[in-house]
Symmetry: D2
Subunit: 121 residues, 4 copies
Amino acid sequence: MTPTATPGSDLTVAQLQRRLAEFAAARDWGRYHTPKNLAAALSVEAGELVEIFQWLTPEESARVMSHPGTAHRVEDEVADVLAYLLQFCEVLGVDALQALSSKIERNEKRFPSTGSGHSME
Amino acid sequence: MTPTATPGSDLTVAQLQRRLAEFAAARDWGRYHTPKNLAAALSVEAGELVEIFQWLTPEESARVMSHPGTAHRVEDEVADVLAYLLQFCEVLGVDALQALSSKIERNEKRFPSTGSGHSME
Amino acid sequence: MTPTATPGSDLTVAQLQRRLAEFAAARDWGRYHTPKNLAAALSVEAGELVEIFQWLTPEESARVMSHPGTAHRVEDEVADVLAYLLQFCEVLGVDALQALSSKIERNEKRFPSTGSGHSME
Amino acid sequence: MTPTATPGSDLTVAQLQRRLAEFAAARDWGRYHTPKNLAAALSVEAGELVEIFQWLTPEESARVMSHPGTAHRVEDEVADVLAYLLQFCEVLGVDALQALSSKIERNEKRFPSTGSGHSME
């Protein structure tokens, strides 16, 4: 990282995926990391992210980063979700970025930009 | 992308995040994309990923990519989870890669590699 | 209870739990119904319930039962959540009603009714 | 029901639903309890139930009630899931027991007991 780089700007998904794999291997966690367990762990962390917002109004939810304690919780849960997503992809050999790129291309055909309604699925 | 590149290998999170933001803006979906709603959508997609594995044994769960139909479902749900995670991060100004990198560093201190037990939190 | 009772009003959790157990036994689904799998299935169905509401405003969410199609989806997901909760409790010998009654008693002490803030946990 | 009944056996869903409604009303929590928020809270609690099981083998998951600490966590999360399910049903006027009874009847037609495969949906 150069001294002038935006923090995080030269991190890549591939590097993080490797660090996570080494972290798990060094602790002999491979036997826990079945795709089934990692998918469950991902959903648990997504639930913890939802928990931060569950009683907030839409307006309050837009301001969570202005409270340092809540901002830290949000970043922490984002990290957990991404960690399990990347570990899940690692054990199954899925390229998450490519999967998303392909999906965006499909959705560009399915949801012309003049259309109404809302869905990503 | 050069013609010889591995598919997906030169995609970056920042590029995908921009394409998702443009996609949503072109369809005027901004009003739906509160942090609260995006966190809920992320957890819904994580649930759809879990659904693929819910009745499988650990061994069966390791073989899902060898069935083309299931492999496609897995990639599709991975794309959806990542899409909502990146859109969530976009609206709140969270750098997901940096958040994960910081978390890995913290966890390296909390879970020395000789330790037993298992947790990422 | 009078013979003219509202439909459903004389159903009990115990009866439904027995019908679910017989249903699963008749189809030889016992091997799938580990506590781990049933907890995952419960969370998947909870996600499907959230999906109905994910893009709605709080006000819109209060009116879902006035649209017959959406009302049916809501009832269907409520049934699925309850089905997996009862099956989970059945395989582990947990009395869900008693667990909730005890929890309400504990919460009555933890959250005096003059208190401010909001939490059930 | 006789005086020697198992604890909890004479509790009913209707009574618990009323106690929960009174509990929330006494604390002025009604404004938080939109259907959307209660569905989110239900899914968060379902995630906390999954968390107990996420790294367990199927066999380990069947023995959770033999550890008092884990047994208490399980009962606590079951109580939370049921609490939010009943509060959700209360605000929308959904009869959860009737919804489940109707669903079991539909499923008895959809999944004849000689059939193979596994699904409740």
